[in-house]
Every structure is written in C-alpha cells, then in structure tokens.
C-alpha cells in the first residue's frame, strides 16, 4: 500500500500555546514558494494567510466545563474533494506520499477548491492571489541536509507538549497508526466521506474507580479510623530508639 503521511493531534495534550502556528508561519513564509501575506500585522484589523490555526472550544456548561484547544490545518484527505474540482490541475494529491498540494504557478485563484473543502483548510493569499494550504512541510521532511530527527513538519518540531505526531498512517507499525489505534484516534466530519488522513486523539480523563468498601480499612484492628493516641515516651518503639 502506498504511503499516506499525516499528522495526529492529541487534544488531551494540546495546551493551546500557538507555537505550531508561529512555527508554521515562520517556516513557510521563508521558503522558496514565497512569502505568506500579512496585512496590518501590528495595526487595526490584522489579517494574513496561515496554514494552521489553533481554536478554542468550551465543552459543557459551567461549572462542568472543559476547554478544548483545537489545532486545525489541512487534513490531507485520502479522498480530497478539493482536488477534482480544480479546473487547472493546480490542486493535486501526490501519489507517493498522499500530500495534497497546490502548484502556485498553475493556480488561477478561482477559489472553487476553497468552496469544495468542508473544513475551511484553504486560504487565498491576498497578494499573490493564489490558493494556499498546509504542505505538511514537504520542503522540510525530505531535506537531506537536515539531521534525520529534524525532517518533520515545523509545527511538530515546535510543539512543546508533543501533541503533534507525524508519520505514515498506512503503515500499521508507525507511531501515528499506533496512536490512532490505541488512543481512539478519529477523523473530522466523517459524514462527507473525505477520509481525512490527519486524525485527532480525544480528551482522556484519568480516573480511579473507588467502591464503598474500599473507603474503610478492612485491616483496621480497632475498627477506628483516624489517629491512634500518642504512645508514652517510655514505651517501647518499633526501632527501640524513638517513640515519637
């Protein structure tokens, strides 16, 4: 089976620090493909092109709420709806590793692919007038000038809590496949049959289950809970030297 590179994002670990966002932007705005537009970055109404966003959702009703930080980027669908609609062939899915890419030299900026993506993963660059999206750092992961440990997407390298895993989801022994299998990895909006390659790991609470009889010491000879009376200072002690 062919390769399908993807990210697995652990929502149980993500702290919403946006390090993946800034690292992604820094790497991808500095590459050969050209800058990623930023307008009014330090003024009113800042806007710009990003491949990756971290959003925050509150689940539940106060006081029983959980905060879910939710990083969102292109999911590199196995059946990407954005690719067949492209009139120029600028949007394509690589056969060798399953990465969905845009050829910026062919894109005419008609935005039809953005309409065809249910996840809103594509953003038009307001200055280059072409559609942009996550490339899975295709210019990084195959760069043999980098040490092998660094041949990972910039977001994965930046994550301080290792909430982002990177690998081949078609290889059952890869770290991502194991994480999906063992930790209940799931895909977003499965109702559209896009089969996203990226998966998310759910929030997991660590809980201990106590039964009523476990709250009482069964080996308590006096059937009394609480502190025992302090022994007399002259009384023999366990180690024969101190009593208290």
């Amino acid at each position: 089976m062919s390769k399908q590179l993807a990210l697995v994002i652990d929502l149980n670990v993500c702290v919403g620090c946006h390090a993946c966002v800034t690292s992604c932007k820094e790497w991808n705005t500095s590459g050969e493909a050209g800058f990623m537009s930023d307008d009014n970055p330090y003024a009113r109404d800042p806007t710009g092109t990003f491949f990756n966003r971290v959003q925050t959702f509150e689940v539940g009703e106060f006081p029983n709420t959980q905060t879910v930080h939710f990083p969102k980027s292109c999911l590199h669908c196995e059946d990407p709806p954005c690719v067949p609609v492209c009139p120029t062939g600028a949007s394509y899915k690589r056969a060798e590793d399953g990465i969905v890419l845009v050829d910026y030299d062919k894109c005419i900026g008609c935005k039809y692919c953005a309409w065809a993506c249910p996840y809103g993963a594509r953003e038009i660059d307001e200055h280059q007038k072409v559609m942009k999206k996550c490339t899975l750092c295709v210019d990084r992961i195959y760069d043999e000038l980098l040490p092998p440990a660094d041949r990972k997407p910039a977001c994965v390298m930046a994550c301080p809590t290792s909430a982002r895993l990177f690998g081949d989801v078609h290889d059952p022994e890869s770290v991502v496949s194991k994480a999906i299998r063992d930790s209940g990895g799931y895909a977003l909006m499965p109702e559209w049959g896009t089969h996203p390659a990226n998966h998310y790991l759910p929030r997991r609470k660590t809980e201990i289950t106590l039964h009523r009889d476990e709250l009482e010491r069964v080996d308590n000879p006096l059937k009394i809970d609480g502190k025992l009376p302090k022994p007399d200072s002259r009384a023999p002690s366990l180690d024969d030297s101190t009593s208290w």
Binding site: F50, Q55, F57, V59, V85, G109, C110, G120, I124, R203
Partner: protein, 314 residues
Amino acid sequence: MRPAFSVIFLTTLIGAGQGLFVALYSAEYGASLGLWAMPSAQYFSLGCVLVLALLGAGLAASFFHLGRPERAWRSASMWRTSWLSREVIVLPVFMAAVAAFGLVHHLRGAGDLTLALGGAGVVLALLLFVCTGMIYACLPFLQEWHTPLTVINYLLLGCTSGFLLSTAWAAAQAPALLVTAAAWTAGATLAALVMRGAALARNARLRPKSTVQTAIGVKHPRIAQKAQGFMGGSFNTRDFFHGKSISWLRLVKWGFLLLVFPLPLALLAAGAALVSWPILAAAFALQYLGLLAERWYFFAQARHPQNLYYQAIS
C-alpha cells in the same frame, strides 16, 4: 456563502444569452416545419449579435472572479473531473456555434446548414446550463445546492430570461412570432416559478449534516467556541459569510420572487397585447434585476460547514 458579483453576472448574463439563442433557433425550426413564416435574416443575424454580447459580457465578468486572470487558459485542462473546466470549454464553443449560425444567416439565409449549426448550438446551450448548474450541485456538503433542482433552475431561469428578451426582439423584428414567443415565455416563467419554489421549500426544511460536534469530534450537546485563532479577519471569515441580517435575506427572497415572476408576466401580457417592444424590453430589464437578486440569494442561502469553525472571535 458570500455572493460573488462576478459569478452572479456571469451566470445571469450567459443564462439570458443561452435562452435567447434557444428562442432564435426555435423560430427557425418552427418556420422550417411551416408553422409560421420564416423571419428575416436580420432577425437571426442581429439576434446572434445580441446573444454574443450577453455571452461576452458574462465571460468578461467571470474574469473578475479570478485572482490570476492571465492564467485563465489553464482552466480548460481538467475537464475530466471539474465541471468548472467543462464550463470553460463549452462556453467558447457555444459562442463559436452562435457566431457561425448568425454569420451563415447573414450571408446565405436560412437553410439546412443553419438548421444543423443551430441544432448544435442548442445542444451546446443545454450542455452549458448543465455545466453551470453542476458547478454548484456537485458539492455534497453545500446541501442547499446539492440537488438536481439547482441544474433545473439554472436551465429554467436562463430560458425564462432569454425567452422574455426574444419576445421584445420578435416585437421589434418579427411581430408574427410574438404571440407564440409570449406563450413560450409565460410557460417557461411558470415552470421556473414552480421549480424555484420547490428549491426554496426544500432548502427551508434542510437540516445541516455537519454540526460543531462532528466538526471537532467531541460528543456533547453544549459546545461553544471561545477563540477562532485570530482576532482580525481572514479569508475564512470574509468569503463564507454574507454578513446580512435574516430580515434582509427575507426581503431579497420576496423581492426576487416578485421581480422574476409576476411583474414580468404582467408586463409581458401588456407588451404582447400592444405589440410594444419597449414594454417587453422593460420587462426583461426588470426581470434581470430580479435574477441578480435571485442569484445573490442562491449564494447567500448556502451554509458552508467551514463556518462551524468560525463562530466566535474570542
């Protein structure tokens, strides 16, 4: 979705052009069967100029939709998979057929050649309606568009508009055709009213398949967005929200229902009775305004699932 005016003008203008061409060809076909006298060569040749003007204006409008219009030629390449690419191919071929049909009428008059050329043109006009409609109907998660009614309505509304223009054209150039053209226009308008009404009724009862629960994959009935990742706007917040109130949407809906169907029908009856092309032309112009509103509403009504990720700034 935020309605794109370039696409609104493209689809309404070429729709009127296609409808008018179908009407021109029907006039020749009916005459060749002996149903009525053959209209003058000028009726066809100048009529084709009118069709080409509408199609050309639509084509020009479409370029304003592109970020990189100088690369527009590339969009013909993916016709195997993309309805947009198919539209890009069929539109100029249809224009060529219209030009050839008009030119042969001008040079040699009606005959077997014009019947054949016009027949090909009508097939291309219908194909173009299918391509235009399928661009929207083929996207499954835009549930308001993902229905055969989308294609049917592009066809019927285009024919309504073009047929209405053909009545004004007949009143000016071939008054003998006027009653038949008016009858066909009324029929097309009523059919379009039924089908557009059906689409409105269907969409009013749609339940979105995607929810914020499926969007982030958390099973809980109460999920509220607290941050979308940025404070300013982005492409996602600009291009997928129409930003108008519900009451404005309702106003546009009733506005287009009034402007596209009953008002032009009343003017059509008056114009046909008086054989007055200015009244019929005014009916066409009024209905065209309504069609602009109809197309605006068509886009604004579609709720894109990506909007689930952009419910709150912070």
